[in-house]
């Protein structure tokens, strides 16, 4: 049976999935990724690059669609925000050339680039920025990422080149969030963004054949460095074999190949490069503390101790062990893998103390987009410590309604793919998490910290709390694996910031 790499399978963030995800140089990944090295030879500026992806966006209206798939296509490529992030999550200027933060951290003043233009040549005006951001923070906003900018109370423009954001309180995550889907600048009173995304980036949208492909073409009027290829086609190949055949026969130049056995067939082949990178795909075994035995921290800890994460990584062929929802590349990462290490005997003791020495039955709900082996592995591991698990495989929307919205579950496994999502888990009404005032205070301290050091300290504390309180078990951090045709370079190999930067992709003249 084939197993897809988790990284390639999905994101809780939407139906989206980090299919094509990733970036250059993967410091956290294994190897620097064949993708990032420059060709050194002569690049072909008229080339078309075809990228095999797995999950298609459900809509291209970035102001309305959830999930990371739409952002990977459009963010930074077609749309820009005031600021942008690179594949490592580092923030730098985009539509704003400079910004100033007031000492109390509550006023952000952005100076706009004076040569930025939408794709028909209309200049980007301060009014476009004000209307874009105001729509997101409006009380009746349907932007699914509105909470990213919740700290903003007002957006104004004192003159044509300046935009001022006024905050309710300090927000240490604001700059990063402005680089995300909530921060994109669309034309004032723009309509029909689904059919015709209209941005300011190095590519312009060309066409979308639903169920098949999305095509972008180079924006030759882009104010910055021009893209190095004329066209990029994202082809959606959900089926593992179809993706593999497309790579092998040259129908796509870069493809997501996650299956271990399939990846091995490309290694050592002089025509292909295998690129591995790190992701933010946190495969999370969530515990429902609101009902039944999982309200008892001893039961939750027992389950964590009962699952050998290294064994699962071996079964799936790739992945990194993490002890909290923080991936190693985040500034507030701390190695917490020693908390509740694999210890079946200890797990049985904890269960006995909690009064479940005679055994325990729990339900496990998993969306059917993930490989069945994950649920099978967890089930067989927990059987060893006397916990009988009944697996329910459901479609993703059924998971969203049943588990995410109605909290009708004991255990659940999904991939939390979003970057820097630590604060999600203190939200009241989230489907699992830490609802204690202490956790909320830590999250708040992190969000409103005056310095990076303070922020990192608070968020490190929060992650440790999550882990010690066993709000969930983090099974593994997915790996992104792509196979590219030799001669194609500059594609992202890591997938840590929900963007897929196309601007550096090059194709060698053949």
């Amino acid at each position: 049976m084939r197993i897809r790499t988790l990284a390639a399978t999905v994101a809780v963030a939407g139906l989206a999935l980090a299919a094509c995800g990733s970036d250059g140089g993967g410091s956290g990944g294994s190897g620097s990724g064949g993708g990032s090295a420059s060709t050194g030879g002569r690049a072909n500026p008229d080339a078309t690059v075809t990228i095999g992806a797995v999950l298609e966006p459900t809509s291209l209206d970035i102001t309305r669609a959830s999930g990371v798939a739409v952002g990977q296509i459009l963010l930074g490529n077609v749309y820009e925000g005031l600021l942008k992030r690179d594949q490592k999550g580092v923030v730098s200027p985009a539509l704003a050339t400079a910004y100033r933060i007031s000492p109390d951290g509550r006023t952000y003043t952005f100076t706009l680039a004076d040569n930025a233009a939408f794709q028909d040549g209309a200049p980007v005006r301060a009014a476009d920025v004000v209307s874009s951001l105001t729509q997101v923070i409006a009380p009746n906003s349907t932007n699914p990422h509105a909470s990213d900018l919740a700290s903003i109370s007002a957006v104004s423009s004192p003159d044509a080149h300046t935009v001022v954001l006024t905050l309710k309180e300090r927000d240490s995550g604001l700059l990063f969030n402005l680089t995300g889907p909530a921060g994109v600048i669309v034309r004032q009173s723009a309509t029909g963004l689904d059919g015709r995304p209209d941005g300011t980036g190095p590519f312009r949208f060309d066409s979308w054949r639903r169920g098949d492909s999305i095509t972008l073409v180079r924006n030759d009027a882009y104010r910055g460095p021009k893209a190095k290829v004329a066209r990029v086609v994202f082809r959606y190949l959900t089926d593992t074999n179809a993706q593999n055949n497309a790579v092998r026969t040259g129908q796509v130049d870069v493809g997501v190949i996650s299956d271990n056995d399939l990846v091995d067939t490309y290694r050592g082949n002089p025509k292909f490069v295998v690129a591995e990178g790190t992701t933010t795909d946190k495969f999370t075994l969530a515990f429902n503390q609101d009902r039944g035995p999982l309200a008892d921290v001893r039961v939750r800890r027992a389950i964590r101790q009962g699952i050998d994460k290294d064994g699962l990584i071996k079964v799936l062929g790739a992945g990194t062990r993490i002890g909290s929802p923080v991936p190693p590349l985040d500034p507030w990462y701390e190695d917490l893998t020693n908390i509740d290490r694999y210890d079946p005997a200890g797990a049985r003791r904890l269960l006995a103390q909690a009064g479940h020495g005679g055994g325990l039955r729990l339900g496990l709900t998993i969306p059917n987009i993930y490989p069945p082996s994950i649920g099978d592995y967890v089930t067989s591991q927990l059987r060893e410590i006397g916990v009988t698990v009944e697996v329910r495989r459901v479609e993703f929307p059924a998971w969203l309604t049943g588990v995410y919205t109605k909290h009708d579950y004991d255990l659940s496994i999904v991939d939390h793919a979003e970057a820097r999502d630590l604060a999600f888990y203190v939200k009241p009404g989230y489907y699992f998490g830490d609802r204690s005032p202490q956790a909320r205070d830590l999250a708040k301290a992190g969000a409103t910290a005056a310095s990076d050091a303070d922020r990192n300290t608070a968020l490190r504390g929060l992650a440790r709390r999550y882990s010690e309180d066993a709000i969930a078990d983090w099974l593994l951090l997915g790996k992104a694996r792509q196979v590219a045709r030799v001669g194609v370079t500059g594609y992202p190999t890591d997938d840590v910031s929900a963007v897929y930067d196309l601007s550096k992709i090059e194709v060698l003249k053949s």
């Binding site: 082809r235 497309a246 969203l400």
Partner: protein, 316 residues
């Protein structure tokens, strides 16, 4: 005859109406909600309510049904809740892949099954006839997706003769490229179909061969072949045409699998994706269209049988 056609047409309309009700109601039983899908995992519960209102999913079910049917009667299948795109436009785009695929597979299957089926019947006591029979059994037993994978491995990956999957992004702008990408999928669909048809053609022909009127024809001095051609085939065609109507539904179902194996952007692939996203307006439009196609084909088969067989023309 005219009365019968009118009566059949009336039945067709009633069936379509009942089908639309069933499709609409059954889809509402699926767990999961498109508003939750749209909102994803970072939106607040208030936002989900607003989204539900915006796409009209908070209206009563009868109101939603009437609204949908009202549109369908004027050829407007509504818009996708997820992307806001017109369902009619997408259906016609996908049909440009699925219709040639299913049509091509049917012709291919007929071209293989009819001559071989007759041959298998004519030689049913000889080794070649038995071999053909066994071959059709094998064709029935092998799943379509496996045949597809094998064809890809041989013709696309090893020999590089045909594309491994997909459809040109500019559609039929280049007819040769588009047709090439449909060859392997159509063959895959046709293999199973041909196996089914071959068995029906064979048994229908065998039955005719043993019929009294063939014996009479032979007694008049015709050879077996002459008797079969002049009197037999028309009679043998009846059950084959009927089964072709039934098999049309099977072919459409097969297209769902084959389109996924070959990454073809057709109706079947879209249907699977839409169900996965709970985009019910699109799903019900697609299912209704397919149901209508099957019912219309059934109607056509009925008429064809009456034309082929004068005895049926006066029957009720």
């Amino acid at each position: 005859m005219a009365v019968i056609i009118l009566r059949r047409l009336g039945l067709l309309v009633v069936s379509l109406f009942v089908a639309s009700l069933l499709v609409f109601a059954l889809l509402r039983l699926l767990p999961g909600d498109v508003a939750d899908v749209l909102a994803g995992t970072s939106a607040s519960p208030d936002q989900v309510l607003r989204i539900r209102h915006e796409i009209g999913a908070d209206r009563s079910l009868p109101a939603q049904y009437l609204d949908w049917m009202g549109g369908v009667l004027t050829g407007d299948f509504g818009v996708s809740a997820l992307s806001g795109a017109s369902v009619s436009a997408e259906l016609s785009e996908k049909l440009r892949v699925t219709a040639p695929l299913v049509g091509g597979a049917t012709l291919l299957a007929l071209a293989v099954a009819v001559p071989l089926g007759i041959l298998a019947a004519a030689r049913h006591r000889r080794a070649s006839g038995v071999a053909l029979s066994a071959l059709s059994q094998l064709g029935l037993a092998v799943p379509a997706f496996w045949i597809g994978l094998m064809l890809i491995t041989v013709f696309a990956v090893d020999w590089r003769l045909l594309p491994a999957g997909g459809f040109p992004t500019d559609g039929w702008a280049d007819p040769v490229a588009a047709a090439r990408s449909l060859v392997l999928p159509a063959v895959t669909l046709a293999v199973v179909e041909a196996a089914v048809l071959l068995r029906f053609v064979r048994s229908a022909t065998l039955e005719v061969l043993n019929a009294d009127f063939i014996r009479t024809a032979r007694a008049k001095g015709l050879t077996r072949g002459q008797a079969l051609r002049r009197h037999g085939l028309r009679n043998a065609a009846l059950p084959v045409v009927s089964i072709l109507g039934v098999e049309f539904a099977t072919l459409l179902l097969g297209a769902v699998i084959v389109e996924n194996v070959f990454a073809l952007p057709g109706l079947g692939q879209m249907l699977v994706a839409d169900i996965g996203n709970r985009d019910l307006v699109k799903v019900q439009g697609t299912v209704l269209l397919v149901t209508a196609a099957v019912l219309v084909v059934g109607f056509g088969v009925d008429l064809a049988n009456r034309l082929l067989d004068p005895r049926l023309r006066s029957a009720r």
